[in-house]
């Protein structure tokens, strides 16, 4: 096993891919900012469309924040593997001695760092603008944490399946939105429950469980899908 030392370890491979992705995003801030701006825009559109009475806003805010977060995440998922596919990095990832599911996980984690995390950081602002009680913000951030993480993992499967296709954009939404619906249902309802002052443990636990399930299974599906798409 003389050559074994030349291969970087599992953690090294994982962390260097995450670092590369975050660095790439840093160099192209538009890719990170666009979904965020989209999130803020959608959240602005709703009061204009629905009406500005305080009661109405408070009532619809949890769902609204969640729909906006879901759409913003989908928007950024589209390009998850596209540039890698076009410049050949994807071939290198598949050929590399690192296990592909681990690299798929790294892609998802990096995607969450540059798209999910900023969403969570912006969400309190939106909650305040909708006059939601401040007690809700913690629960909302927590549900968004598990929810966006699950979305990054789940969405990576869809992005991997549609990577080489010309009509990938609309297709990705069609594939991922139905699968993401449990996240949306539980996320939005849990925030509503929190706004009404009810207990929220069940919803938060559900989202956490869903996230763990996605964390364990999704990278394998993503890896399989990447192999198929890159044949």
């Amino acid at each position: 096993m003389s050559h074994a030392n030349d291969i970087p370890g599992l953690w090294q491979g994982f962390s260097s891919l995450v670092r590369r992705e975050v660095l790439l995003a840093w160099k192209r801030p538009g890719d990170v900012l666009n979904p965020l701006v989209f999130f803020a825009m959608v959240s602005t559109l709703f009061p204009l469309a629905v009406g500005q009475s305080e009661q109405q806003l408070q009532f619809s805010a949890p769902g609204l924040v969640w729909v906006a977060a879901l759409l913003a995440t989908l928007l950024s998922l589209n390009s998850l593997f596209v540039s890698d596919y076009e410049d050949g990095s994807l071939d290198q990832l598949i050929l590399s001695p690192q296990p592909l599911p681990m690299l798929a996980l790294a892609k998802s984690v990096a995607h969450w760092l540059v798209s999910g995390l900023p969403l969570i950081l912006v969400s309190p602002l939106i909650a305040f603008s909708f006059k939601m009680p401040s007690s809700v913000i913690g629960v909302m951030a927590l549900t968004l944490l598990f929810g966006t993480m699950s979305l990054s993992l789940l969405g990576a499967i869809g992005a991997a399946l549609t990577v080489g296709l010309h009509r990938g954009t609309a297709l990705l939404s069609l594939l991922i939105l139905p699968l993401a619906m449990p996240i949306l249902i539980f996320g939005a309802r849990t925030v509503s429950l929190a706004a009404a002052g009810d207990t929220t443990t069940a919803g938060v636990y559900f989202l956490a469980a869903y996230c763990m399930l996605a964390l364990t299974l999704a990278p394998f599906a993503t890896a399989a899908a990447l192999r198929i798409s890159n044949e």
């Binding site: 009509r167 699968l179 449990p182 599906a221 399989a224 798409s229």
Partner: protein
């Protein structure tokens, strides 16, 4: 057993065998549905709360059950095709999707027709089972759209197989959503402790219809797989032989 399975996976053998199997599914299926529908509509007593409106369950329950059954068939076949690289299994998966989508649609439509007199509304978002059936329909659409979007058939098979297996994770969530969120929907009445909460005159037609629908699903599936196999193998020698033999008969 293994030998039989290996033989079954060969398209020409399957094509021959399935031709003789379809009547075994279709005939009892039609008879059971005829009995179940007649008995359900005319012999079963009206429900003490719902009156005659409950009779839609004789279509609704089998359709809802088959919408999930078809998905299971699709996902399991997709898994078999992906793991053991059996092309016939992919054909089964491709054939099951449209049938499953139709049963899902039927379950949604009958559910909403039943909902109008019972809940006073065609559609009730508060009911998770209705919503999850709708999600189910979208998953079927996504599966078929992905298949249609990929030009290379081998790649389409494998990619959609991954999607089918990922979607299968949703089925338990659909099933248990009834218990997770308080809902308007009827709880399970057939499978529960202490026996079914339904008099036998009501239950037997329902069971007959469930079985009948399942058999008809089997017949439809076999028929669709046959045409799928013919299409996929259209350039092979045995299909050409078959066609020549057909032409010879005329």
């Amino acid at each position: 057993m293994w030998k039989f399975l290996h033989k079954l996976a060969s398209p020409p053998y399957f094509y021959d065998l399935s031709a003789s199997m379809i009547p075994w599914f279709a005939v009892p299926g039609v008879l059971l549905i005829a009995y179940g529908t007649y008995a359900g509509l005319f012999l079963a007593p009206p429900d003490y709360q719902q009156g005659d409106a409950f009779r839609i369950i004789y279509v609704h329950v089998p359709a809802a059950y088959l919408s999930m059954m078809a998905y299971m068939v699709m996902a399991v076949a997709a898994g078999i095709g992906l793991i053991w690289r059996i092309k016939l299994a992919h054909a089964v998966s491709a054939a099951a999707a449209p049938i499953g989508a139709w049963f899902t649609f039927l379950a949604l439509i009958t559910g909403s027709i039943w909902g109008k007199p019972m809940w006073g509304t065609w559609w009730e978002w508060g009911d998770p089972r209705l919503t999850s059936q709708l999600i189910m329909l979208f998953i079927y659409f996504g599966y078929m759209a992905l298949r249609a979007a990929i030009d290379d058939p081998g790649k389409a098979d494998k990619a959609s197989a991954v999607l089918a297996m990922v979607g299968a994770v949703n089925i338990p969530i659909i099933h248990f959503s009834v218990e997770w969120w308080s809902s308007l929907h009827q709880g399970a009445t057939i499978v529960r402790e202490g026996g079914p909460a339904m008099p036998p005159e009501m239950l037997y037609p329902l069971l007959a219809n469930i079985l009948g629908f399942t058999l008809i699903f089997g017949a439809l599936l076999l028929g669709r797989v046959r045409s799928e196999v013919l299409f996929r193998e259209r350039r092979s020698r045995w299909v050409r032989k078959l066609l020549l033999a057909e032409q010879g008969k005329e």
